[in-house]
């Protein structure tokens, strides 16, 4: 059956293009003897320097970079694991479940601390907190809220300012949004109160951080909750307009992870790519050259802890659990 499918893909290039990529780019020479197909949730602009650095020392290798949403990655990759060599995603839970389900191979000679790898297959290469991004204009001259409680209080105090202008992930569509939401819910009841308040203010729901930032810049949004700060920091034009708040009550820190597909035909190059990626991100690199946030155990003195890579991440992926969670979330946010 798979062969027939592959044949169809080969015969009708149009069909292969049927997948609706957010972005798709090719790096390296067209005449390359081997092509590395990277499936990723990270924007090309953030990742291109890494790929170019990787290709610099390797002639004869090309990289095809496919970008799509975290939930899509899981779906696409499970359907055709042989079509991709490296999978990169910010949805740690989905990544861990893929590895747990045997979709990955181990990578030798890549010693990472226990918290930054799972089964020597899944490797973390960034630590990125979920942040609250705020349009400074909405709060001037008052102080910008530093915790979820303060945000709730601010929104309750001036609902007319925020109505229709608060945004967060749609956890039904976004794998990362679902991960952030479940981890928040696990950490504190405050999350549910915040969701109820946001729901009451007719919250806008998004698929991805990029879209939320675009709307913040356009003035459509005043507050975006659980946005990846790194995406905002990467855009120099908005520094004056937007403020990135790391909530002080409890942090939710995600790690981008990568693994090599068990069905890859260029295992050596794929492993080399992941090794290169991890080494770049853990080594002393200038942030200007590589816009991806580095991998570090704690981001500041408040002792923020990252979401740990453990089988427990699979808990909220359980259909029964997911059904219950989405039901609760929907009743809070959509109302």
């Amino acid at each position: 059956m798979r062969y027939i499918f592959a044949l169809m893909m080969w015969l009708c290039p149009a069909l292969a293009q049927a997948q609706d990529w957010e972005d798709q780019n090719a790096f390296g020479p067209a005449s390359a003897s081997s092509t590395l197909r990277v499936l990723s949730s990270t924007d090309t602009s953030l990742f291109a320097p890494v790929i170019e650095d990787f290709l610099q020392s390797r002639s004869g290798v090309a990289v095809e970079y496919f970008v799509t949403g975290t939930a899509q990655i899981d779906e696409v990759f499970r359907a055709a694991p042989e079509d991709f060599d490296v999978v990169i995603s910010s949805a740690m839970d989905l990544q861990l479940k893929l590895v747990n389900d045997g979709f990955s191979v181990q990578i030798a000679n890549l010693d990472q601390p226990d918290w930054a790898q799972w089964r020597n297959s899944l490797f973390a290469f960034t630590t990125e907190p979920a942040t609250i991004v705020i349009n400074r204009a909405a709060f001037a001259p008052e102080s910008v809220p530093q915790t979820r409680q303060e945000l709730i209080a601010a929104m309750r105090a001036r609902p007319e300012v925020f109505r229709g202008k608060v945004g967060t992930y749609d956890v039904r569509d976004s794998g990362l949004g679902y991960l952030f939401a479940t981890q928040d819910a696990r950490a504190s009841e405050t999350f549910w109160r915040l969701m109820e308040v946001m729901g009451g203010l007719d919250a806008q729901l998004y698929c991805c951080s990029g879209a939320m930032i675009d709307d913040l810049v356009a003035g459509e949004l005043m507050v975006a909750y659980n946005v990846l700060g790194s995406y905002v920091a990467a855009r120099e034009d908005v520094a004056d307009m937007l403020e990135i708040v790391l909530p002080l009550d409890f942090p939710t820190i995600m790690m981008r992870t990568a693994f090599v597909s068990s069905r890859t035909e260029v295992a050596e190059e794929a492993a080399a790519f992941v090794r290169h990626l991890v080494e770049m991100q853990t080594g002393q690199q200038s942030l200007e050259a590589f816009p991806l946030p580095p991998l570090s155990a704690t981001t500041d003195s408040t002792g923020q802890a990252v979401i740990s890579l453990e089988p427990a991440l699979m808990t909220y992926l359980d259909p029964l659990k997911r059904r219950t969670f989405i039901k609760e979330w929907s009743s809070a946010v959509i109302q």
């Binding site: 747990n100 045997g102 020597n120 089988p311 427990a312 808990t315 359980d318 029964l320 659990k321």
Partner: protein, 455 residues
């Protein structure tokens, strides 16, 4: 005679092998028993965590509006984190329908009471341990059975087992090494009294047949008792035979001396020539018998003394000259000249009585076979080894019998008309051998025997 003892096996080897062999067997047994036991403990550790996980999931199962909800806690899986990052699989069934999880996960039949059943299986190419439990949920008008299975790969367990195996292996090896040391010590201390007995018996003089007096272990007592009684019998028997020979020779010699003196006295009185002739023959025969008896005594004495020589430094030339002086009267009777040739003193470490005896026997032999009015030469030399050469002008040794002549009681063919016991050369040779030397027989090119006594 072949002196080699018929040896079959070794007590030391047998003892050591038995001890080391049993130590090895015990070490191997220890390894497997401990490893199996540790494996059971490690497995029961994993089982109990799986049990807790299953229980926490099953506990969260509820019926709401006829639907089964299983809002299990985060900890249900987080408790399954291991150092080796083991993979986790699970399945939640309502009756025969999969609610969530891995459909192909092997599930054991679990009783309704919540009792947890464990099985080992292979899932997705990896060995897994599966814990399964079931529970009946009772609603308003429904009654349904929920089964929960949680499985985990065994990488961490295998790691633990490897570590345990390595440690137990080291302990086993240590135990074995210690046992080998103890075995060799035990073997040596068991064998030591035997070695001590052997040593004390070997160190004895050949004539020392006294009983073993040192304390010996109980097990060796019968052997030592037999040995003691055997030596006592041997001692008695040896003493008796030596006493007998000495007594016999002595007893014969004294009456012979009496008979000889009677014969001499009679010879003085008898006038008739044929009677005198008969008496002279008689005296000669008595002399020979007496000499033979003397030699027997000498031989017995030499046999006794050879085993514990009483050596001292003496001058060989002086000893030979002394001997010549004492034998001169006998030589004169046959008009034989005894000449000593030497180049100054020759100092030797020897038993003077034995040496005198041996040389006297050689000279007496020469006197016996040398013709009248001839010369016997005794040449004393120092190099390369101290030696005494006794040369006569007699018929010499029969060349073809020279080898066997020094054997006790054998005599040359040409000695038939000469009276003798055949012990002279034997005595000389025994003395030479006792001193680490040798006796060589030869003939002079111009005729006459030449005996070389080498020390």
């Amino acid at each position: 005679m072949d002196d080699a003892v018929n040896v079959a096996g070794s007590l030391r080897a047998r003892l050591a092998l038995t001890l080391i062999g049993s130590a090895a067997a015990i070490a191997i047994l220890l390894f497997f028993v401990v490893r199996t036991y540790a494996a059971q403990i490690a497995q029961s550790g994993q089982d109990s965590i799986l049990e807790a996980s299953v229980a926490s999931i099953l506990d969260a199962a509820t019926l709401r509006d006829g639907d089964v909800e299983v809002d299990f806690p985060y900890v249900a899986f987080s408790m399954l984190s291991t150092d080796a990052d083991d993979r986790v699989f699970y399945a939640i069934w309502q009756e025969e329908t999969l609610l969530s999880g891995y459909e192909l996960l092997p599930v054991a039949d679990a009783p309704d009471g919540g009792e947890i059943v464990h099985v080992s299986a292979i899932f997705d190419g990896a060995p897994v341990r599966v814990a399964t439990a079931a529970r009946i949920l009772v609603g308003a008008n429904t009654r349904t059975r929920v089964t929960v299975s949680v499985a985990q790969t065994q990488d961490a367990l295998a790691g633990t087992l490897n570590k345990i195996s390595r440690n137990v292996g080291l302990i086993g090896a240590g135990f074995f090494t210690l046992s080998v040391l103890v075995a060799s010590w035990a073997t040596n201390s068991t064998i030591r009294p035997l070695e001590r007995l052997t040593h004390s018996i070997t160190r004895r003089g050949p004539k020392d047949l006294s009983p073993v007096a040192r304390p010996v272990p109980l097990e060796m007592a019968p052997l030592v008792t037999s040995l003691n009684s055997f030596m006592a019998r041997l001692d008695t028997s040896l003493k008796q035979s030596e006493d007998f020979i000495a007594e016999a020779a002595h007893r014969v010699r004294t009456p012979l001396a009496t008979v000889r003196s009677h014969a001499e006295a009679t010879l003085q009185r008898v006038e008739r020539e044929d009677n005198r002739q008969a008496l002279r023959s008689m005296v000669r025969a008595i002399d020979e018998s007496s000499r033979a008896a003397g030699q027997l005594l000498d031989h017995a004495m030499i046999t006794f003394r050879a085993d514990h020589l009483e050596t001292r430094t003496l001058d060989l030339v002086e000893l030979v000259e002394d001997l010549v002086t004492r034998l001169a009267p006998v030589a004169e009777m046959k008009d034989i000249a005894l000449t000593v040739i030497s180049e100054g003193a020759v100092s030797v470490e020897a038993d003077s009585i034995l040496l005198q005896n041996a040389l006297r026997n050689l000279v007496e032999n020469a006197l016996k076979y040398a013709p009248e009015e001839s010369e016997i030469t005794l040449e004393v030399g120092a190099s390369p080894r101290p030696r005494v050469e006794v040369r006569d002008e007699g018929p010499g040794f029969p060349p073809d019998q020279m080898q066997g002549l020094a054997v006790r009681f054998s005599r040359g063919d040409n000695a038939k008309d000469t009276i003798g016991s055949g012990l002279g050369l034997t005595i000389a040779q025994d003395v030479a051998t006792a001193h680490g030397g040798e006796l060589t027989l030869g003939n002079m090119p111009e005729g006459g025997a030449c005996v070389t006594f080498l020390l």
